[in-house]
Assembly symmetry: C2
């Protein structure tokens, strides 16, 4: 409560409900906003609603898009025999930036996390199974699990492995190992163990 | 560029133009916004414009307010013989939180910073002088300079000292010293020197 103005207090309230924005940052942002020209804030305000109005989830891969089917799913250039399964839309952005992967995606919109009360039915698993069971051509040959190497990510991977086994499709997961440019001496034991375990012939 | 949606790109653009929000945080915020119910985002969007429409600068002290004259300037309970000069409205909030100061304020909305091209005419100095020269009663007896202990703050203090000297009003500055709960061993030399210089009898 700044005790200065209700509109200011309510803006600070709204801003600090956003992720990664604490009370002090919210206050600093609000002060910045007060000093900006109205047109700039109008633009920001409009952008917020625009995104809510225009962005939908792709009917095939559940990624975000402005159309029914996203650009990746509708592209002729992508390899339709591989699906990379990720937790969130931003993971698609990160993988696309590498320019290495040319297959399709499936966005789960979350990860299984019993502690947070998030079960398999709360993420887009049904959509994945429907997609795999569809008699589309070409046939899916590989599923790449690109989930975060966290407890929840691992839980989800275990669940997916069980779920996908009966389908007879090759399932792989992205490598855990040392980040490029890092130092073996400073690596944590688990990462180093996974890096050794996942060694590849050179 | 996410290459997914123009509305998303433009929201990320707008968000990352805010202070303390980099590109990655902007992207994370945008993804969060996509997943929120529309009413929540409508509220945020409205709050932004509300603040722009309702907040004005107090005609006396230049602090932010929803009225012509701010709550502090119009309060009967404040000591009208002391003015505390601060850089920004958030500094008023910080000082008010201490519950120690009962005088008035003057908000400069900036500091003199030749490197950034901000001169004395770019901050609310004219308003301060007008206020001091006004034949109001009671007479101002003390001006407390509560500017940040930075190069720019010091520059502004030097300028203010020269400017205010002819008026014959007592001018003081808030103490520089060790933060409460800190450690002499870990203090930087300049702070420690200022703490010794500014010692008070006990």
């Amino acid at each position: 409560m700044t005790n200065i103005s209700d509109s200011l207090d309510s803006l600070i309230e709204e801003l600090s409900s956003l992720p990664q924005i604490g009370r002090k940052t919210a206050r600093r942002l609000a002060m910045f906003i007060i000093k900006q020209p109205r047109e700039k804030i109008e633009k920001l305000s409009k952008s917020l609603l625009d995104v809510k109005d225009k962005i939908k989830f792709c009917k095939i891969c559940c990624n975000i898009t402005e159309n029914e089917i996203c650009k990746i799913c509708s592209s002729e250039k992508r390899d339709r025999t591989v699906i990379c399964i990720v937790e969130e839309p931003q993971d698609v952005l990160a993988i696309e930036k590498t320019n290495e992967y040319k297959g399709l995606y499936h966005v789960l919109h979350g990860r299984i996390s019993p502690l947070d009360g998030i079960g398999p039915e709360d993420i887009k698993l049904k959509e994945l199974l429907d997609r795999l069971n569809e008699s589309g051509s070409p046939k899916i040959e590989e599923l790449i699990l690109a989930l975060n190497p966290t407890v929840e990510g691992e839980t989800t991977i275990l669940y997916l492995q069980k779920l996908l086994k009966p389908l007879g499709i090759k399932v792989s997961r992205i490598a855990r190992g040392l980040p490029v440019g890092s130092d073996i001496e400073l690596a944590d034991e688990v990462t180093l163990a996974k890096a050794i375990e996942g060694r590849i012939p050179c």
